[in-house]
């Protein structure tokens, strides 16, 4: 009897699995079709640009999913980590500006040492004076003010000198002149280090305070990147980053490439940019698969089981002697590292670093929408979410415009309302995203590909 019952359960499970797999395949198929439609109706170049951005979005979404889906941590600082990855791309790949180093390198380094020393001594004082009342505050503040004033005494002239070096073209220290793909690793590491500090500060907080704290810290990071010209050129942007793939113009001049295009009877220009994009696609896909493999393995390992146990019942996990805060820190650092990698990849793809482009809407909240729509806790869901949401984020504008033009076609062409609607059609995408998020949360809170019970 028992035996039969077990058998019955097994077939039940097997049957349940199948539609899941089928549904996932269908969803992926639809996504591929959508991209293909763009390729056919708009252009293949556009389709590949979309695909590349989808891949990067998917990686970012995976990073967020590691934090949210595995551990229930609300990291609203995605933007900051992505920007740190971008910074790494600059600092690794750009050639060093020797004149700038000569002009202010020493002062800057010296100031840096003082800054680190100040911070350490302030922390030390804060810890040591834990039971000496208000004296604690005053001494710490005094240490900080004096320390940072001294630091500024050295760094201010140094940064001025650096920013004066050939201000129109450089005016910053430059980077290390290494291959840009190397920066993806460094971007991950940089984001991980900063995440460690942030995690140390804020992981003990209530979950929604964590969101606000990380949001605030990510803003601070962006301000830093925007205004510390000596490091990032600030709002003057860093353009022309080296590439990991060939340049279109070089391809076009290659004899073999001309031959191939002429036999295929396609335009050399189109084909070259398509090939470049396809190269990126290949590399990004490899990274995406590596990240997925890594996170799936981690999820299946005892580590992943423990993480989910903590997420589902923190009190019980604490009672069982798990160090929740330590586990959270691990997961926070890992997820941020993944976001950092994606950030570096994004800057690599763009070929430029633009601090002003980092907006919380685009870099934090959009990624969150991806994870939630895709299915929190499920890596494939995060990937699908990354694809779907990026696709609609880009395509909502033309589609919205088309829709509004279509709907108002009955009106006078110069009607005030019609012009207003068409002019502001772009904002429908905010509304659409919000609605999609709200509807998912309400009616399908587990997302497109729900987390599987393991």
């Amino acid at each position: 009897m028992n035996f039969l019952f077990g058998k019955y359960c097994q077939t039940q499970l097997g049957l349940k699995r199948l539609p899941n797999l089928l549904r996932n395949l269908i969803l992926a198929g639809i996504m591929a079709c959508l991209l293909a439609i763009v390729g056919i109706s708009q252009s293949w170049n556009l389709a590949f640009s979309l695909l590349n951005m989808c891949l990067i979005s998917a990686i970012m979404a995976l990073g967020v999913n590691i934090q949210w889906g595995y551990a229930g941590l609300f990291n609203a600082g995605v933007m900051g980590f992505a920007a740190l990855g971008g910074l790494a791309a600059v600092l690794i790949s750009v050639d060093p500006v020797r004149a700038a180093w000569a002009a202010g390198g020493q002062g800057l380094l010296f100031g840096l040492v003082i800054g680190v020393f100040t911070t350490c001594s302030a922390i030390f004082a804060w810890r040591r004076l834990s039971n000496s009342g208000s004296k604690r505050y005053w001494i710490t503040i005094l240490l900080l003010v004096v320390g940072f004033a001294t630091m500024r005494f050295f760094t201010d002239p140094a940064t001025l000198a650096i920013e004066a070096v050939d201000a129109a073209r450089s005016g910053y220290l430059g980077g290390l002149g290494m291959p840009i793909m190397f920066s993806w690793i460094i971007g991950g590491l940089l984001a991980a280090c900063v995440a460690w500090i942030i995690g140390k500060i804020s992981l003990g907080l209530r979950s929604d305070y964590l969101a606000i704290a990380t949001l605030g810290i990510s803003e601070i990071i962006i301000y830093f990147l925007k205004f510390e010209d000596w490091l990032t050129r600030g709002v003057k942007n860093v353009n022309g980053l080296p590439r990991p793939v060939p340049y279109e113009i070089d391809l076009q001049n290659e004899a073999w490439f001309q031959q191939v295009t002429s036999t295929l009877d396609v335009s050399v220009v189109d084909a070259s940019s398509l090939l470049v994009k396809a190269c990126y696609t290949g590399i990004f896909l490899a990274v995406l698969l590596a990240v997925i493999w890594f996170s799936e393995t981690a999820l299946r390992a005892p580590w992943g089981r423990m993480m989910r146990a903590i997420r589902d019942n923190e009190t019980a996990a604490t009672a069982m002697g798990k160090n929740v805060q330590k586990q959270h820190l691990q997961v926070f650092v890992l997820g941020s590292a993944v976001i950092g990698i994606a950030g570096a990849m994004l800057v690599t793809l763009d070929g430029q670093f633009t601090p002003t482009s980092y907006q919380p809407l685009r870099f934090t909240f959009l990624i969150w929408v991806m994870v939630i729509i895709g299915g929190s806790g499920n890596n494939w869901g995060a990937v699908l979410g990354g694809f779907v949401i990026w696709f609609f984020w880009i395509e909502a504008e033309p589609v919205g415009l088309w829709l509004i033009t279509f709907l108002t076609s009955g009106m006078e062409p110069t009607s005030w309302l019609r012009l207003h609607l068409i002019e502001n059609a772009a904002h429908t995408r905010l509304i659409t995203m919000g609605m999609v998020l709200l509807l998912t949360l309400r009616f399908a809170p587990r997302g497109l590909i729900p987390e599987t019970k393991r």
């Binding site: 500060i201 804020s202 979950s207 929604d208 606000i212 002019e423 429908t428 509304i431 609605m435 709200l438």
Partner: protein, 337 residues
């Protein structure tokens, strides 16, 4: 003597007056955030967009009044349009609660779910606002510009530093004072206000006392919406109205609420001013002041600035992070209205 008077005028002009106005705006915003937190127990990220929405309605009505030739010069027309803006914001909030938030209340969702929902709401309202009024900068202050002009102050006092008071600043501070006083009176003197505090303190017991939770929630939304519309309009009057700004204003507002202690109305007010004044104090260039007090160039030729003005907004986040670090419950510890 003259030197110290001049330096005081300098501080008044660049820190005291703008700080009071900005602080009032933040305080009103933070009070709204705190109200929702105290009653509904979640951090409402959509508050900035509700402010924006209320301000937008006020602006549209202002334009309409201007078209009709209605005006209350020297006061800005927006002041008589404000009640409509408040009404619009209230309608919006009640609608939001009915369509969105009430569901999660029934589900007894956790605070993070609420937070994400409020982000979705933020998207939608932000989109609607921009869709209706467009993303551009708008100046709708048609009242008298100044109460006290810098030149008049100089002539009056014979000092070389002027103090200017914009009428929008005076209006901001005055209306904030009135609104805050009204809210505090309501909370501490009326039965309904007390029932809100009771509900915030112990919802289950409030239920046992015959307090209708739906009513409390509705009133909390009404007050929050009113505060949001007022603070949004005042901010727009004082600076200028631009939808995008309100996305960025959410953080200083939350910083104010948290610094004061989320859930504590008094904390929200204090937090608002703490954030506003620290922003100004930390990014103020003390060079001129030092020159008045000590003589030219005694302290070198630097700007004597703690942090460059570029970092003005970042100051609030820095303070926020410090507070979260050393006293996460804020100055007036923790939740209770």
């Amino acid at each position: 003597m003259e030197g110290s008077l001049n330096s005081m005028a300098l501080l008044a002009n660049y820190i005291l007056v703008p700080g009071l106005a900005y602080g009032s705006q933040l305080a009103l915003g933070a009070l709204g955030v705190t109200m929702i937190y105290a009653v509904l127990n979640f951090s409402n990220f959509s508050h900035g967009e509700i402010m924006s929405f209320g301000a937008m309605i006020t602006i549209l009505v202002t334009y309409w009044f201007q078209g009709l030739g209605i005006s209350v010069y020297p006061l800005p027309t927006a002041l008589i349009a404000l009640p409509v803006g408040i009404g619009g914001a209230i309608l919006l909030c009640l609608l939001l609660d009915k369509l969105v938030f009430s569901f999660y209340r029934q589900q007894r969702s956790n605070s993070v779910t609420y937070l994400i929902v409020s982000i979705g709401v933020m998207f939608v309202i932000g989109g609607i606002t921009r869709f209706i009024i467009g993303p551009d900068d708008r100046n709708f202050n048609d009242g008298e510009r100044f109460i006290l002009k810098a030149r008049a102050f100089k002539e009056m006092t014979g000092l070389s530093e002027g103090v200017a008071i914009k009428s929008s600043q005076a209006i901001t501070v005055a209306s904030a004072f009135i609104v805050v006083a009204a809210v505090f009176w309501f909370l501490s003197r009326t039965r309904t206000g007390k029932s809100m505090r009771a509900y915030s303190n112990n919802p289950d017991l409030a239920l046992l006392s015959g307090i209708d939770p739906n009513r409390v929630v509705i009133i909390a939304w009404v007050i929050t919406a009113g505060l949001a519309a007022v603070s949004g309009t005042l901010y727009g009057l004082d600076k200028s109205y631009k939808p995008l700004v309100f996305l960025h204003l959410v953080l200083p507002i939350f910083a104010a609420a948290i610094v004061g202690g989320v859930g504590s109305p008094l904390g929200a007010i204090v937090g608002g001013f703490v954030i506003a004044f620290s922003e100004l104090f930390i990014t103020f260039a003390y060079k001129k002041m030092a020159a008045y007090l000590l003589g030219d160039g005694v302290l070198g030729d630097g700007l004597l600035q703690l942090l460059s003005t570029d970092y003005k907004f970042a100051v609030s986040f820095i303070i926020l992070v410090i507070v979260l670090l050393i006293k996460p419950t804020g100055i007036f510890s923790g939740k209770s209205i």
